[in-house]
Symmetry: C2
Subunit: 356 residues, 2 copies
Amino acid sequence: METLSKTFWIFDVNQPMPATLKDIAQKVGKSVTTVSRALHDYDDVSPETKALVRQAASELGYIPNILAQRLQKQRTDTLGFILPTFGPRFSDPFFSEFLAGIGNKATELGYDILVATRPPGEEELQAYRDIVQSYRVDGFIIVRTRRKDCRIQYLLETGFPFVAFGRTENAGPYPYVDEDGEYGMRLVVRHLARLGHRRIAFIGAPEDLMFAHCRKAGYLQGMEEAGLPIEASLITTGDLTQRGGYEKALQLLDTSPPPTAIAASNDLMALGAINAAQSRGLEVGRDIAITGFDNIPLAETSHPPLTTVHQPIYQIGHMACEMLVGIITGAQPHPESILLKPSLIVRQSCGVRVAA
Amino acid sequence: METLSKTFWIFDVNQPMPATLKDIAQKVGKSVTTVSRALHDYDDVSPETKALVRQAASELGYIPNILAQRLQKQRTDTLGFILPTFGPRFSDPFFSEFLAGIGNKATELGYDILVATRPPGEEELQAYRDIVQSYRVDGFIIVRTRRKDCRIQYLLETGFPFVAFGRTENAGPYPYVDEDGEYGMRLVVRHLARLGHRRIAFIGAPEDLMFAHCRKAGYLQGMEEAGLPIEASLITTGDLTQRGGYEKALQLLDTSPPPTAIAASNDLMALGAINAAQSRGLEVGRDIAITGFDNIPLAETSHPPLTTVHQPIYQIGHMACEMLVGIITGAQPHPESILLKPSLIVRQSCGVRVAA
DNA sequence: ATTGTAGACCAAAACGTTTTGGATGTCAAC
DNA sequence: GTTGACATCCAAAACGTTTTGGTCTACAAT
């Protein structure tokens, strides 16, 4: 570790003193009130004055002081986003894309974002309480909902605005955006069944996660629809990581007879499963079919490319953000929740027809 | 897409009207000034009064109004973070971890974060200008510095506080945190050379990126140190994605004689290279050595696990954030820049000794 | 002449904090 | 009994906006 011996940068801001409403008022010889109202296009200001004021404002390079506006309106123009995760080294391909979605929309709408990560549990809930009580944000975006979700309960109780990405089981109606994971997983199973697979294994995820629960329900339904028996030995639960998928897939490959297809609850585990199959000398897409869920960028470039279910995570971020701002500003106090129907992305990892 | 027929959630905030300094002042029969100063532990307030005020404050559940504080201090308590990226579907494993690093530190220090993404170029710079001029943030965190970096130039010119993750070539000294990529890549090449490799190929990245430039320089130096000839045909440039690494690796494998080792500029490309080698029937770690750089979470669970150079991205985020806040608050107006010495993580993808 | 109305404007309050520049009282030193 | 030092306190200004609750003028209707 090296340190500079001498440093020279200077952080004296070189910008001109910003103009205020008062400056404009002085310049045009009107009151601050009139100037403010002129700039907001109120109709108790004469057209001439408006023109005058606008002219002066642009000459002085007037930019409203956001802090004063916020104090006056008692709004922070900030949205809270707490990612539930254990430790810093989480590998959630969602995060970047989803946050980019809400971030860009938020910037567009003039909002900031308060980002934090907390492990699910008491510490997490306390973070919500702290932020709510200190009025740091105008609303929250909740991700990775759980079947019993104390965050949603808390926010509903306090009446604090939020939008969730995902549904939950233990709370009345609330605004959310979600993708129909049950339907998506049914698409997967149906596709595999049509290709001739009968022993379709499933790598699920901890079922307190709402989406994991839905996807598993989809698997079960899909199997039933296809008239296939459900075997406990073909159903496992992973931890959503690539390593977890690897391990669970090895386990599944050891059952006899082994499954001819593995449907994973997410892409990361599917990628691990592909590695597992390959390490057993199987050719994925020929000897075994493996599918994922999410359609993360890596899915397209894996080898073989992964058959999966698309989840438009960036757009979901956009929608959630827009919905939340609608609630906060009162434009859409009770927006309609959105449930997206996903589509199947067929790539090579599921192969073609199985030799019966 | 389904819509709810009826919605019931209510966003009337259920919280008690928050107490203000005035309320406390009334309760204890002192002035607002004294209350404020008591809570800030000024020494022109008697211990008795302080106790009284603190008691009352906690009884009333006083929480300072952050907006009023910000207006008064003329500070936003917000840090700007604009990720340079093309399109929403970027797959930057850094992003999540780095942002978690700055996010958690920022929350700890009472700061919010304004997040956005912009493609590098004019639009990006305009975003910086807009945000600076509207006083939306107190400082910026810059990532993925470029050899000629207009963001850094602009911020230095205007004297606006920032900290960069990465160095640049076209600006005087400024505060940064960086990892010595040159050194890291030298470690890689040295290690490969010691294992007996002589034809070590390199997959670089666009050289306008400062880190890419450094890593390539490290490769060249490492080769020279090892007394190995540098062959133009063994040096390529990828786009940092897995797919890019895949394609470039295929290309490299087609040279004759082919390289016995491929050092990629980042892990994602290395993972692609592993796929490429495998698609040619090579066993990575035996028939060919492949190394990455970054030590992203995926590197550990790939097959084979990836030899790479560790970059403590979360901690770098932490440091950058802390440094920036130091600059903003004036506690550390001229912090020492930090250059971290990386360490090599040897896993199976580089194999052991090469059969000469 | 009075009343009403509409158009144009604005002083002051409000948002809740921090800081400035004293004021007041007490006690010791001279 | 004056002076200075110290401890304690506070009114008012400041931050820059938006909103409230008007006023004033001109002109038309009565």
